[in-house]
């Protein structure tokens, strides 16, 4: 199924109008000024995105509009819906508006649905709260709504409980519930943040359908600029509780006039960008909204800031038709056409040795996985536990990583990428196959050899808060691996100070605890700890996915810089294909415990040959409105099957868009066995439309051409593999 990325054009009247909204509430640390002076008009059928990082006030805004802010919060300003003032209404009055005219979709679909009622009951409740209809009629409507949002077998699934639904299905049910009463405004607060990319594409598609169906105006709250580019007509950028730039989506993406917006756009790694110029790095962290200093809140991080910025906060001022920005320097930015590269100079990387030009095949292999498998028994029963099945978490993968190389391992949650990583780190014998690190099989290692190997093999985890013991000062944290390997006190001290400088932290902060640092700084501490013993191979488990965009860029740049300077090898596990494109030399795509495509990064991204890789690449939104509007998407059906019960034959066939178009005879090989990883076919990439045309499908097999211009290390596991131009 393909969907063209079109948008609903806004021509309606103003439905929701917010004027000078302020939200303040007390907290442990003092008075939180969560929102400071937000104004906008929202027209019927229009989508406005509110973009900002954590603490920018975007979610508080949505709760304030819904009247669901905490009791202690004080709200001033005006919120009018169809001209009716909402600020100051009683709970009874607001309740008649909520769910009827104003609907909301929350971020985490698991906790947002009541666990003890069926999906149907919850939708029926939404209808019956506002309309005097019979239960049977409301129930019928619930089934229709579930059908509309694309839940298969709605008559049956309407009786399911939330925990029986997958994340994507729950979010669909949430949307069904939100549009049950044909609302005029739908507020979607990070509706896809908790979901995988292919599921995100499905849900965003449903959200568009829902908007067309209801003609509602949508407020889309998100931190993902790609989603903004694809979904919205207008954008409000918020920083420290304040709108800093507002305009049409094209204005914001192509003519940003506020340095924060410019930096944010420059900091996002892009799926469609070749090469690896460093990303724009915003120094420092977003400020606390408690006790804000005077002046522009962005001034401490802004290279253009001058004395005036630090004393007086600029108001929003027109910089173009329907385009406002809050910056004293916006005139200069317009005049001099300043871009992120001009405003945010790249961190000086120090002395970088010349790049290693040895061909890949001649470099030393630091890690190789041979037919690696990890199966877990699936246990049941509390008293007498018994084995009822097997989870094929990792099921026979081959990979190799050469010195100085970054291998990206990508896939959706549950594909086995983290298990692979843990298998390597555990240094135990896997269920099947071999793990060879620095030429040594890990299953044969003695205690002492393991310890030596751990010195050269280090890890950086996803959540920088969870991976640092909150009870230790960061000096002790970074020194811990040195202690294990018996470094003397004096040497340890010098080494830790060096490391802090290397990762861009103040050595004077060595005695502080992890909670005194921001997310990005904590991840730098984690990296310093990994570097302490001068390892050769670092495995990174989603090292930047928990960080805000402006922080993430700095960490990515640091990792790239370290790799070049220290000649490290990285095994980089991530779900974000844009980050992988930016940092990796090679990429392996995993699906249900198997590798379906692997190869050089530019080769795989420009000529993806497996339908899953193609779907993944097409599902990722690109922060460029024009590109997004013209893109064609492959939407995969359904969810990832359980690794305890993988489909027979090719494990991807249940969701495969090519398989779907094949006639029964053509399907035979796919049903028979998992296709082996073979050299990807040659030839010019075809378009997506061609790729999905069953008439064009031809099995590869023995007559698959091995061309001269196709590198032989681009491998793909599909009988109908062919390169497709997705980007």
């Amino acid at each position: 199924m393909t969907v063209t990325g079109g948008r609903f054009t806004a021509t309606g009247d103003v439905v929701l109008s917010v004027r000078n909204l302020h939200v303040t509430f007390p907290s442990e640390a003092g008075l939180v000024k969560a929102v400071r002076g937000l104004s906008f008009d929202l027209r019927a059928g229009e989508t406005m995105a509110i973009v900002g990082e954590s603490g920018s006030g975007k979610s508080v805004t949505s709760l304030a509009i819904m009247g669901l802010h905490p009791r202690a919060a004080r709200i001033s300003g005006s919120i009018t819906l169809h001209g009716r003032e909402l600020v100051g209404l009683s709970d009874a009055q607001m309740s008649s508006i909520r769910g009827e005219d104003l609907a909301m979709i929350f971020q985490d679909p698991l906790s947002a649905l009541t666990p003890v009622y069926t999906i149907g009951d919850q939708i029926v409740e939404a209808i019956q709260t506002h309309h005097d209809v019979s239960r049977a009629a409301a129930w019928k409507r619930a089934v229709e709504l579930l059908d509309l949002v694309g839940i298969p077998n709605p008559q049956l699934r309407v009786k399911s409980f939330p925990h029986e639904f997958s994340g994507g299905m729950r979010q669909r049910a949430m949307i069904a519930q939100a549009i049950a009463n044909d609302p005029d405004v739908i507020i979607a607060d990070e509706p896809t943040t908790a979901l995988d990319v292919t599921i995100q594409a499905q849900v965003l598609d449903v959200l568009k359908t829902a908007q067309v169906e209801t003609g509602a105006a949508v407020i889309l709250i998100t931190h993902d600029l790609g989603v903004v580019a694809g979904m919205s007509d207008r954008v409000t950028v918020m920083y420290a509780g304040r709108p800093v730039e507002q305009g049409s989506v094209d204005d914001i993406f192509y003519r940003p006039r506020m340095p924060y917006t410019i930096g944010l756009l420059g900091a996002v790694p892009r799926l469609d960008a070749t090469g690896s110029e460093p990303l724009a790095t915003l120094q420092g962290n977003p400020p606390s909204v408690v006790d804000l200093p005077p002046g522009c809140p962005f001034s401490p991080r802004c290279p253009l800031a001058h004395a005036g910025c630090r004393t007086t906060e600029p108001d929003l001022a027109g910089v173009g038709p329907d385009h406002v920005a809050a910056c004293w320097e916006s005139d200069r930015i317009t005049r001099e056409h300043l871009t992120s590269a001009d405003i945010f100079p790249v961190e000086s990387a120090g002395d970088v040795p010349p790049p290693d030009t040895t061909p890949r095949t001649e470099r030393e292999t630091v890690l190789s996985l041979e037919n690696l498998s990890r199966h877990y028994p699936l246990m049941k029963g509390a008293v007498l536990r018994r084995r009822v099945g097997t989870v094929y978490a990792v099921d026979g993968i081959d990979l190799d990583l050469r010195r100085g190389e970054t291998l990206g391992l990508v896939g959706e949650s549950g594909c086995g990428k983290s298990t692979t990583l843990l298998e390597i780190l555990n240094l135990h014998a896997p269920t099947d196959g071999r793990i060879v690190v620095f030429g040594k099989d890990t299953s044969t290692l003695g205690r002492r050899e393991k310890k030596t190997m751990r010195r050269d093999l280090q890890v950086v985890f996803q959540d920088p808060m969870a991976s640092l013991d909150p009870r230790m000062p960061i000096f002790d944290i970074i020194a811990e691996p040195l202690g294990v390997h018996g470094w003397s006190k004096g040497r340890t001290e010098t080494r830790v100070m060096d490391l802090l400088r290397t990762v861009g932290l103040e050595p004077g902060h060595a005695n502080r605890y992890p909670q005194h640092f921001s997310g990005g700084q904590r991840q730098r501490i984690g990296i310093a700890r990994a570097l302490a013993l001068e390892p050769e191979l670092i495995v990174l488990d989603e090292p930047v996915s928990a960080l805000d965009v402006s922080i993430q860029a700095g960490v990515i740049n640091l990792l790239e810089d370290l790799k070049k300077r220290l000649r490290l090898s990285y095994l980089f596990v991530a779900h974000d294909l844009a980050v992988i494109r930016h940092i990796a030399d090679r990429v392996a795509v995993m699906y249900l415990g198997k590798i379906v495509e692997v190869g050089d990064i530019d080769e795989v991204y420009s000529r993806p040959s497996h339908p899953y890789t193609q779907a993944l690449l097409s599902a990722i939104p690109i922060p460029d409105p024009t590109t997004e509007r013209s893109r064609t998407r492959i939407l995969l059906h359904g969810d990832l099957p359980s690794p305890a019960n993988p489909p027979s034959g090719c494990t991807f066939r249940t969701r495969c868009p090519i398989f779907e178009g094949l006639d029964p005879e053509q399907r035979t090989p796919c049903l028979a066995a998992m296709p082996p990883l073979e050299v990807a076919p040659d030839g010019a990439p075809v378009t997506l439309a061609q790729a999905l045309d069953p008439a064009e499908a031809r099995p590869g097999g023995e007559d698959r051409p091995v061309g001269r211009d196709t590198p032989t290390d681009h491998l793909v596991a599909c009988y109908y593999a062919r390169p497709v131009k997705v980007l």
């Binding site: 905490p70 006790d291 751990r454 811990e480």
Partner: protein, 313 residues
């Protein structure tokens, strides 16, 4: 009722909002935050003060009070509270206040000893079960189930009835109360340790090559410490009530020792003619247990950042 003792949270700068806290320029240390949360809880602070006063009274009461616990005021039998005897006198002319203070001392000693012993047991058994796992863990879980099935009150009474008598008999009581008091805490410690074990910084330490004992001491024990502090505190209340309950039937502290429980049992004989003999130790018991509970609750709320009850700004 299990409580989530998450320990690695940052200050909740945004109050009740489901949004991560904004990085604050002047961050509070964990200690400062805990102290602030604790001292805002009036009940807990009062509890702490009351416990302090009661402990001082038990320690130095005999020097401060006009009457000794074993001193008869001849002719003053069954006298109601007065200036001479603040809490009245008993049938034999003993000062009720002096005897209450004497009983309070024994109750406090028993309470603290039992609480410390049972929490230590719970910590050792719970954390080792979680860390070692396998048959060791299964065996302990089974022992815990077994001990919970047995009605501990009767078994303690049986042993107390048949056990040795004399000056140190109350030590046996301490052992028995602790032996039947650690099981539920051990379960909590175990599940807490399991979750700590799953944390990434423990995994990180393991991948660094840290040995198991060092891992336990450096990363696991400190993270369950706050739960243990609360457990000791609530355990004091449990033990004091347990001892008093046994004493009420004569299976607790044996004469010549007295505890709040024995005094209550004694006073209950004459509630119609001399209610003060009963009310004085009963009142002190309730006050003491209330204070310990309030202190424990306050500590838990202060140490557990996810607790709603501590979060009123």
């Amino acid at each position: 009722m299990s409580v989530d003792f998450r320990t690695n949270e940052e200050p909740e700068a945004l109050g009740g909002f489901a949004q991560p806290a904004a990085p604050t320029s002047h961050r509070l240390t964990r200690g400062q935050l805990v102290r602030r949360r604790f001292f805002r809880n009036r009940g807990a602070v009062i509890g702490l003060v009351v416990i302090g006063l009661l402990v001082l009274l038990a320690l130095f009461g005999s020097y401060l009070l006009p009457w000794q616990y074993d001193q008869r005021d001849l002719g003053q039998y069954y006298k109601p509270p007065s200036g001479r005897h603040l809490f009245g006198t008993t049938q034999a002319g003993f000062d009720v206040l002096a005897r209450t203070v004497r009983g309070l001392g024994k109750s406090l000693v028993i309470g603290f000893m039992v609480a410390v012993i049972q929490t230590t047991l719970a910590a050792l058994i719970g954390s080792s079960a979680a860390y070692i796992g396998g048959w060791y863990e299964k065996a302990w879980l089974w022992v815990i189930d077994l001990m919970l099935v047995l009605p501990s009150f009767f078994l303690i009474a049986v042993v107390s009835q048949g056990g040795p008598k004399g000056t140190y008999a109350w030590l046996l009581l301490v052992v028995l109360l602790a032996a039947f008091g650690w099981q539920l805490s051990a379960r909590v410690v175990r599940s807490l340790s399991m979750s700590v074990k799953e944390r990434e910084y423990v995994a990180a330490a393991r991948f660094m090559g840290l040995s198991t004992p060092r891992l336990l001491v450096r990363h696991i024990v400190p993270n369950i410490a706050s739960m243990l502090i609360v457990d000791v505190c609530l355990g004091v209340g449990y033990a004091i009530l347990g001892e008093a309950g046994l004493s009420y039937f004569g299976y607790g502290v044996q004469a010549p020792d007295t505890s709040l429980g024995t005094l209550i049992a004694e006073g209950a004989q004459s509630t119609t003619i001399a209610p003060w003999i009963f009310l004085a130790p009963a009142g002190v018991l309730v006050l003491l247990v209330m204070s310990v509970n309030a202190l424990g609750d306050g500590l838990r709320d202060a140490l557990d950042p996810s607790s709603m009850s501590g979060g009123q700004a």
